[in-house]
């Protein structure tokens, strides 16, 4: 009985070791080098004659002008209306 138990456990351990060896590797080796080659030609753009920020600045300033127009209109709706609280008998 003891021999059978030891043989069963040994068999299980051998099977685990056998299948572990056959499992695929977790990392994949890339078939090409990881570092990309450096360009041999240096690209250079044409020199800018107008600063790129200018059109954006104009739009922002126009938007602020529009906000100022809205602020000029005082919202008198918030001013509390008047009511009578005296019966006028005294």
């Amino acid at each position: 009985m003891i021999f059978l138990t030891v043989a069963f456990i040994s068999g299980v351990v051998i099977l685990i070791l056998f299948f572990q060896k056959r499992l695929p590797e977790t990392s994949i080796n890339l078939p090409f080098p990881k570092s990309s080659p450096t360009p041999t030609i240096v690209l250079s753009g044409p020199a800018l004659t107008i600063a790129p920020q200018l059109p954006g600045l104009n739009d922002d300033l126009t938007a602020i002008e529009q906000d100022l127009e809205k602020m000029k209109k005082e919202d008198v709706r918030l001013v509390p209306p008047t009511f009578i609280f005296n019966l006028g008998l005294k």
């Binding site: 600045l57 922002d60 300033l61 602020i64 002008e65 602020m71 000029k72 209306p81 009578i84």
Partner: protein, 262 residues
């Protein structure tokens, strides 16, 4: 049994829809409601004055009863109009300041308290049985309306200062951009020198406006419940008007600088 269940389900949905629509009213809708209720109130002022004159002249039981009815009608319309005004400024404050994460939450809570009082006043006005009771009711209503009016002026000033501060921040951002742009230009040209000089003068002007807005903001911060918010609100509006004029001149100056760099 099934019919009863269906009926109660429909009733629940109708009630829920009504409550949701009342809570979702915009400040424009509430303002229209205020106008409507205020016009109704104004329409009752003349009958009230007529009944008062009659009562003061004849001092009879009949004229007193008629005057009491006219006074109760006026008080009822007054409460309705005040509820509309309070709801309007409450929604205005919530929409203008995104109340959930804003420091002026206490005003919102105060307006909620006033709405609770006004709701009970609305149900009590019908049970007024004498002119002296009506006068006491109006005295109490007057003290509550004083608080609500103060909050109304505070909300107005908060929104005006908030808008001025927001515009100031936006102009500061543009100031930074123009400063960087002028710093990047290495050319030695009379136009560039003039642009830099103009920019420097506008920047100083912006500092003056910032001080003006800060002073106006402090006026509102350093108040107590007994402060004259109507007067403070007028002073703040004057400061905001001055800052709008100054902002306009700074922005057109910046536009001039930007167009000269093209």
């Amino acid at each position: 049994m099934k019919k009863a269940a269906l009926f109660f389900t429909l009733l629940f949905f109708l009630f829920f829809a009504k409550t949701a629509s009342a809570a979702d009213k915009s400040n424009d809708e509430l303002y229209q409601e205020l106008l409507q209720n205020y016009r109704r109130y104004q329409g009752l002022v003349e009958p009230f004055n007529i009944q008062r004159s009659r009562h003061l002249t004849y001092q009879s039981v009949a004229t007193q009863a008629d005057f009491l009815d006219a006074a109760k009608n006026l008080a009822s319309a007054e409460v309705e109009a005040i509820i509309s005004y309070t709801s309007f400024i409450r929604t205005y404050l919530a929409q203008a300041t995104q109340i959930l994460n804003y420091k002026e939450n206490y005003l919102y809570v105060m307006l909620d308290d006033e709405l609770v009082y006004l709701s009970s006043a609305k149900s009590n006005v019908g049970s007024l049985s004498s002119l002296s009771d009506t006068q006491s009711f109006l005295d109490e209503l007057s003290s509550h309306y004083k608080k609500i009016s103060q909050i109304g002026y505070q909300v107005k000033s908060l929104v005006e200062i908030g808008s001025a501060e927001k515009t100031l921040e936006n102009i500061k951002i543009e100031t930074g951009k123009i400063e960087n742009l002028l710093g990047e230009i290495k050319e030695e040209d009379a136009k560039i020198y003039a642009a830099k000089e103009k920019f420097s003068s506008l920047k100083k002007e912006l500092q003056t406006v910032e001080e003006l807005i800060n002073k106006a903001g402090n006026k509102l911060k350093n108040t107590s419940k007994d402060s004259n918010f109507e007067g403070i609100s007028k002073g703040i509006r004057e400061s905001v008007d001055q800052s709008i004029t100054a902002f306009g001149s700074i922005v057109s100056g910046y536009q001039n600088i930007v167009s000269s760099l093209k």
